[in-house]
Symmetry: D3
Subunit: 324 residues, 6 copies
Amino acid sequence: METDLPEAELWAHRSSQTEPDGLDAFWAGTLARSRAAGGEVRLEPVGTVLRTVEVDDVTFPGYDGEPVRAWLRRPVTALRGDGPLPVVVEYVGYGGGRGRPEESLLWASAGYAHLHVDTRGQGAVWSRGDTPDSGPAGPQVPGVMTRGVTAPETYYYRRLFADAARAVDAARSLDGLDPARVAVVGRSQGGAAAIAAAALVPDVSAVVAMVPFLCDVPRALRITDADPFAEVVRYLATHRDEVDAVLATLAHVDGVNLARRGRAPALFSAALMDAVVPPSTVFGAYHAYGGPKRMSVWPYNGHEGGGVDDDRAAVDFVREHLGG
Amino acid sequence: METDLPEAELWAHRSSQTEPDGLDAFWAGTLARSRAAGGEVRLEPVGTVLRTVEVDDVTFPGYDGEPVRAWLRRPVTALRGDGPLPVVVEYVGYGGGRGRPEESLLWASAGYAHLHVDTRGQGAVWSRGDTPDSGPAGPQVPGVMTRGVTAPETYYYRRLFADAARAVDAARSLDGLDPARVAVVGRSQGGAAAIAAAALVPDVSAVVAMVPFLCDVPRALRITDADPFAEVVRYLATHRDEVDAVLATLAHVDGVNLARRGRAPALFSAALMDAVVPPSTVFGAYHAYGGPKRMSVWPYNGHEGGGVDDDRAAVDFVREHLGG
Amino acid sequence: METDLPEAELWAHRSSQTEPDGLDAFWAGTLARSRAAGGEVRLEPVGTVLRTVEVDDVTFPGYDGEPVRAWLRRPVTALRGDGPLPVVVEYVGYGGGRGRPEESLLWASAGYAHLHVDTRGQGAVWSRGDTPDSGPAGPQVPGVMTRGVTAPETYYYRRLFADAARAVDAARSLDGLDPARVAVVGRSQGGAAAIAAAALVPDVSAVVAMVPFLCDVPRALRITDADPFAEVVRYLATHRDEVDAVLATLAHVDGVNLARRGRAPALFSAALMDAVVPPSTVFGAYHAYGGPKRMSVWPYNGHEGGGVDDDRAAVDFVREHLGG
Amino acid sequence: METDLPEAELWAHRSSQTEPDGLDAFWAGTLARSRAAGGEVRLEPVGTVLRTVEVDDVTFPGYDGEPVRAWLRRPVTALRGDGPLPVVVEYVGYGGGRGRPEESLLWASAGYAHLHVDTRGQGAVWSRGDTPDSGPAGPQVPGVMTRGVTAPETYYYRRLFADAARAVDAARSLDGLDPARVAVVGRSQGGAAAIAAAALVPDVSAVVAMVPFLCDVPRALRITDADPFAEVVRYLATHRDEVDAVLATLAHVDGVNLARRGRAPALFSAALMDAVVPPSTVFGAYHAYGGPKRMSVWPYNGHEGGGVDDDRAAVDFVREHLGG
Amino acid sequence: METDLPEAELWAHRSSQTEPDGLDAFWAGTLARSRAAGGEVRLEPVGTVLRTVEVDDVTFPGYDGEPVRAWLRRPVTALRGDGPLPVVVEYVGYGGGRGRPEESLLWASAGYAHLHVDTRGQGAVWSRGDTPDSGPAGPQVPGVMTRGVTAPETYYYRRLFADAARAVDAARSLDGLDPARVAVVGRSQGGAAAIAAAALVPDVSAVVAMVPFLCDVPRALRITDADPFAEVVRYLATHRDEVDAVLATLAHVDGVNLARRGRAPALFSAALMDAVVPPSTVFGAYHAYGGPKRMSVWPYNGHEGGGVDDDRAAVDFVREHLGG
Amino acid sequence: METDLPEAELWAHRSSQTEPDGLDAFWAGTLARSRAAGGEVRLEPVGTVLRTVEVDDVTFPGYDGEPVRAWLRRPVTALRGDGPLPVVVEYVGYGGGRGRPEESLLWASAGYAHLHVDTRGQGAVWSRGDTPDSGPAGPQVPGVMTRGVTAPETYYYRRLFADAARAVDAARSLDGLDPARVAVVGRSQGGAAAIAAAALVPDVSAVVAMVPFLCDVPRALRITDADPFAEVVRYLATHRDEVDAVLATLAHVDGVNLARRGRAPALFSAALMDAVVPPSTVFGAYHAYGGPKRMSVWPYNGHEGGGVDDDRAAVDFVREHLGG
C-alpha cells in the first residue's frame, strides 16, 4: 500500500528542512582539507572470468586522504573508440560495498568507464566491501547512522560524502577517462551520495539519484519506522537530551540541503509504496534541486523503486548528457 | 543457524526417495511427444542500452511444442572468435522469469552464448517473465507446486522440465552456437531444471546446480516449513486423501531420481543454513548423481548459497569443461 | 484498530472507479457464449453421515460450458413441503472450495435448497475444492488475482463470474427448486461473486454480499498491503509497463461497476477494522448498487465481519425476500 | 514441517509423566462435592433461523453446583424415531464458548442430541460464551492456564473438568435422551475435557479426543513455545520458586494420568505438524488410555488436525458405538 | 515513527469521551463500601540483601476490604531525619506485580517511604505479584481488560482503582509516614491508577502519571491494535451486541473522566511514537485534568516514554511538592 | 521451549572449542601495553536525586590508555563502616552503556562500592553510554561483533576486555575501596567481560557470569540465529573466504578459552529456553572454568535468565566471598 502522501500531493509538497548556518563553509572546508591531504590514485589489474569487460582494483584518497577502494570496469580495448571514455561514478546502498569484480556489469557493458566506489565501514550485509572507516565510534546504535552523530565534524556521512566527491576527482585524474564527462549515480544511500557529490563537485555532467536516502531527515524520522532512518530514532530514544545536536548534525548531510547546491541535469526516482525511503522525502530533495531535473514515479513499488527499469532509464539519461 | 544435519553427516547421508515404476518411459514419452510437436526457434534482435553484449529475443518450442521465451545474449561480434560459441543454458528460480535483456550479463560477459530461459506461468514475483503455462489449474494452492499434482501427466514440472530439455535442443539448432559444447546451469528451481535437463539430455557437457530445489521431496516436506515446499504441505493439509497420489507424482520430478540419470560433469552447491532448500535434500541428489561431480558447501549461508562466489566457480567449471 | 475512513466518512464516500467502455457488451458476450456452449446439469446423490440434510454432488456447465462442481444440500424429504424449495446459491471466499458435503449446514438446516458452488482452480488453502481452472496461466504472481490479468478476455475473474451466473441458471433448471426464488450470497470473494451474479442475472430475488472483495480495486491497491489485493501490487511492481492494461482489466470485474447493474434487494456488510477488504471499498460498491439495499457495519471486526451474526442476518434477509 | 518425533518413534514413545498421590481421591472428592451441591437442569427453547434442528438453551449445575450453560440441539420432532435419542456431549477448544445456536450443526444434523457445553470464563476469542468462572484469579498470566495453578484445589481445570463430568450427568437426566448412550467428544482443549469426562464417568459409551490438549504437560512445556502451553512457561519464568508446586498441580489434570482411567472405546487423533499440541503428548495419552482405542495420524496437518475429516470419522465412530 | 497526531495538534486536541450518569456516586459508593469493610494494615519486616534500604511486606485492605499486598521500602533508620517521612505510593504496569523486595530501589534511595502496591490478579508476565483478584471471570478475552466488563459494578478496574485509593489510606495510617505528604505515581496502567487515586482521594500532594493507560478508551480502540486496548476489541469482535454496555462500563474508569476530578499538582508524560498508549489519549486526560499540571513530551520514544529521565523528573516533581 | 540440549546432557557436554597458539601471550601483551600507556583515574561527584547512595563520574584508562567512563556508586558516608569498601565491578550487556547515575542501585544499596563500567562504542540501544570506541571500523555488519574481526589485534573485543581488566586496576587504585576485595560481575556480554577480567586479573575475589555471552562461538554460530551471534553469520555469508581468519580471531576472546584461566570462585547461570545465548555454550565455559564454581540453571527462562533472582544470588555469593 502507499506509505506516504498521494502522488498529487507529493508534487505540491515542499520540505520544511532548513539550512544550518555555515553549511557551505563546512563542506568547502571538508573538501579542501581532504584534497590537501594528497595521496595518489592507484590501479591494479584484476584477473576475472570476464571477456568483454576488464577490471582494475582502484585505491584513491578519500576523506582526509584516507584510502578508499573501488572497481574500475571498462569495456575491453577492442571495444573502445579512440577518445577517452565517459565515466560513471556509482555509489552503493546501505550495508553494501563494491562487491566482487564480476558483479554490476551494466555500466561497463553499456560502454562506460564505471568507477564503482566502496562504502567505508559497511560492505558486509548484502555485498562485500574492503574499505574501513577511520572515525571514532562513539556511543551508537548498530549501523552507521549514529556514528559520530553529535557533531557534523565527527559524523560518518561527512566522511562518506567527502569520499564521494573525491571519487569524482579520482576518476578525472585517470588516463583514458574523460574528465569533462563524468556522471554520478546511485540508489538509496548511493543516491544520497550522488546528490552530495553533485553538490560538492557541481560541474559533473549528470546525476542519477534513484530512491535516494537521507533526504528531509526530520520528516523521515516521524513517518517511517524502518531502518536505517530508525537507527536515529533508537538513538534519540535513549539520548533524549541530544535531540537538537543530532538534528543539527543531520541537517549538514540532508539531501534537501545538498540538492539545492546541485547544478547538473538530474534524474530522480521515487516509489509510492516505499516504506524505507518515504517518497515525500525524495520529493523534498527533488523540488529543492538546483539544476534541470526529471522524476520517475513508480506507483506500485517499494524501496526497489524502478529496479532494472530505473537502471535502463539511467543509462538513457547518462547517454543523453555524456554521449558514449 | 544450521537448518539440517551437521556437515559430516551430510556427506554420509543418502536419500530414501525411491523411483516410481516407468520413470524412464514417462520422461522418454514426454520428450518424444514434445519433439514430435515440432515448431521452430525464432530469434528477434532486441535493442538494448548495451555495447559489449547483443541480445536476441528467442521463442522456441517447449513442452508439446508450446512457445517458450528466452533471451540469447552474446558478446558483440568484434569479440567473438571464428568458431561457434560454447553455450550456457540457464534456468531461473521460483517466481522469476527471464527478466529484462539488460539483466544477468555475467555469462555473455564471460564470453559465452547465454540462453536465459523463461519460466512458464511464473515471472512476476522478483523478475518478470513472458511465457504462459498452458496446463489446467486444478484445485491448488497459490503457486505452481500443486498445479496438476494429482498425476504426473498433468503436473506443472513435467511441462517445465520438458521446456528445459527442449531449450538445449533449441540452443543446439542455432547458427553460431556449438551444439557439442552446451552447459546447463541454474540456482534453486533453476538448479532443479538443470538436473532435469542433464537427465533428459545426458550428452550435455556440464551441469551446474546451485542449491537445487525439488530434491528428496518427501524429506523436504517433513523438515522445512518454507515455501515453495510448504505449498505441497498446505495442499495435503486439506486434500488428506491424496497423499499417495501426490507423492507418486512428485517422485517423477524429484531431483534425486533425475540425478541418477545424469552423466555430464556436475557442480553442485549446498548451504548449511538454508531453510528453503535443506542441504540434506541437495546431498541426496548429489550422492545419487550418475556422473563425475563436485560439491561446494557454504557453512554460513542461507538459500543465497555461494551467491557471486558460486557464480564465479560456475564460470570456472564451465570453462574447464567447455573451453571458451 | 480501524483500517480506513471513520464510519461517518464512509457513509459520505463515493468511489472514483470508472466504467470501461463496452462493459455491458463484454459481460453480455461472455454470458451468451457460455450459455451457448450448452452442457447439462448432473446430480449424483452423496452418502454422508447426515440425517436431516441430503446432499447431491452437482456438475453444471460454467464459463464456456466447462464443468463446475457444487454441492446441493436440501432438508430431507420429510421436512419439505409440497411446493418447490426456494434456493440459496452460495459462493466461496479466496483460496477455498466447496469443501466436504458435511460442512456448511446452515442454509439447508434453515430450510433452503443450498447450491454451494466450487471455486475453479482454488480449493486447497482452507477448504478443498474439485474444479480446475481452464485458463492459461501467463506470467503471474502465485494466486489467481493476476492470472490472465493483461486483458479482460483472459482474466480469471471473467471465468469465475460467468460460473457464478451459470450457477443461477443451473439452480433454476432443477426439479423441486423454485426458479422464481433464488438468492445469491457470499462472503469476501464469495460476496464479489454474488454481486457479479446479481449484475449478470438481475432478476434474482435477493443478494447478500458480506465484506465483499474486489470492489474499487484502484483504491484498494493504494490502501491495503494484504493479500489478495497485494498480489496485483506485486505483479505491477515487476511489470511496470502494464499498469494501464491491468487496471483496465480489473475495471471489468470491479464490484463498484457491477453493483450499478444489480436490481434485487441487497444486504451488504462491512467491518471497520478489516485490513483485507477495506470498508471504503465495500461502501463504494454499496453506494453504487442499483437496487434496494441495506448495510451492516461492524465497528470492531476485521475481515471476519459479522461472522455468525452476519449469517443469521443473511437468513432473515433471505427469508424476508424468498419466504421459505 | 514436523514438529516432534517421526511417526515411527511416536508409536514407540511412552510418556514419563507420573501420577500424583491421591489422584483418584482428588477427583472423587471433586465430583462428589459437585454432585452434592445439587441444582437442576433447565431447558429453554431458543428461536433460531433453523428448520431441521431445534435448539434449547440449557443451564446445568457444574463444579460445586455452579450454573453452566450449553446448547441442546436436536433434529426436529418429525425426524426423531420413537425411542430416546443417543447423545453427544461436546466440549470446546481454548478461548471459545458454545457460540451461537446456529453454529455447529453437524451432530444434530447427523441425528444425535447434541449437548454443546460452554467453557467457563472463556468464550470471547474465537466464539462467544456465556458462563463465568467463579474461581479466584491469583497472580497469573493472561489466559486460564495459570489461574489458581499453585494448588490442585484452586486450579481452573479442576472446575472445567468437573463441569465436563456434570454435563454427562445433565444429559442423562433429560427426557427424550438415552442415558445409556452418551458419547463425549472434543477437539484440543475440548479433547482434554472429553478424556477427563471419560475418566470421571467411565461408563460413557464412546470418547473422541481430536488433537487433545493438556497431555504430558512437562514434556509439552519443554518442546513447544506456542500458547496455551507457553502460558505456563511464562508464569514459571517469573515465579521461579513455584516450579514443583505448579507441575504437581498440572499432574492432576494431565491427560496422560486421566486417560489411564478411561474405559470406553476411544478415538484419538494427532497431527505430525502440530506446533500447538505436539503429537508426542497426544501419543502419551493414547498409549496410556485404559480402554479400546484407535488413533488417526495426520501427517501434513497442524493443530487443525483432520478437520472435517476428523469430524466425519467421529460421527462414524460414534455411530458404531451408540447407533443412531 | 509517530503513531498519532503531530505534537502541535495534540496540544489542541480534546477528547470527546463523555461522562456516564452517576459517575461520582458510583465511585463514592465503591470507596465507602471498601472503607466500611474495615481490615487492618499489617507490616512484616523482610530480610533482604540490602544495607541502605529496609523493606516491609505490607498487607492492606483494598476493594471491599480484600487483602492487597505491597512492599514498603524506606531508607534505613540512620538516614531518616526526625519527622515522619513523605510517602510515594506507586502502582504497577499491565501484567506486572510488586516484584521482589530488592527491585525498584529509586524512591527509597531518594529518601522517600515507598509503598509499592501489588496488582490484583496480574503479576506473572514481567514481574511477579502476590495478590489474587476476587472477581468472577465471566466470558472474557485472556487478560483483565474484559473481566466483568459488561457492567461497572463487576468490572476489574473498579476493584483495582479502589485498591489504589485504599493504598493511600493505608499509607496515611502508618507510623513514621507523613499522612499530609503523599504522592501517587505510576507508569502506563500504574499511571491510570495514579490518576484514579488522585480522583478518589483528591487531597494527595502530587500525582505523576507517566504514559498513562486507559484514557479516552473509545478513541484508543479505534486507533491502536496493540494490547491491552486490543483485548477489548477482540471481545467486541465476538460479543457484537454488547458494544454499548462495554463502552458504558469503560467510561466509568476512563482516565479522561477521572482526571477531571483530580486537584493535586500533576506531572504527565506522553511519547509520540507510543503504539500501546497513543499520545492523544494521554493528552485527552491531561487537558481534562482538574488541577495544576505539566506535560513531558518525548518525541522519539515508544511506550517506554521518558524511562529513567521520566523517573528523574518524577523525583524532582515530588520533591518540589512534598519536600524530603 | 528448550532451545538446546536437555539439562542432563548439558551437565555432560564439553565444548570442542580449541585454544589458538599464543593466547596467553596475546592477552599478556595487550594488558601490558594498556597498563604501560598510563593515564589516571579521575572522579567527579555527580548531583543526583538520591539520598542513600552517592555517585561519582569516573574516567579511567582502558585499552591502550584510552579513557573509559564508569559510575562509582557508594552508600553515603553515614552508612559506611571504618575500613575500605569491598568493590563490585559490573559490565554491561550488548547495546547498553552505563546508563544514568540513578539506575542500577542494587549493589550500592547492598553496601558495596559499585563500579559500573561503560561499554565503548555501544550505549545507545537500551541504555545510554558515553565512551567511544577508537578502533577502525572495517567492512562490518552493523553492531560490534564483526568490527575488526579479521585479526585478533584489531578485534573490538580485545579492546573491550582490556577495558574490563583495567577497570579492576582502576577500582583497586581508589581511596576507600579495598583492593583485596574486588568482584567482577555481569550479565550476557557483561558476563563475558567478567570471565575475561577474571582470566586477565586472576586474583579477583569472585566472579559472577549470568547467562554469559561469547562462549563456544563456533557452536553458537551453528545453533542460534539470534543476534548478536548472528552478526558473525551475516558477515561470513558475504565474506565467505574469511571463515578461518574470523574463527581464529573469535577463539582469542571465546569464554571457553578465557574461563580456563580463571581462578577465583565463580557463579554462573544458564537458562534452558535461552535463544540468544544457548545454554550449552554457557556450560562449555562453566566446565572449562579453572576455579571453584557453581551453576544456577533456570529451566523455564529465556535470555533474562534468573533476572532478579540471579541478582539476589549474586549478592549472596559476593557477600560469601568478599564479606561486606
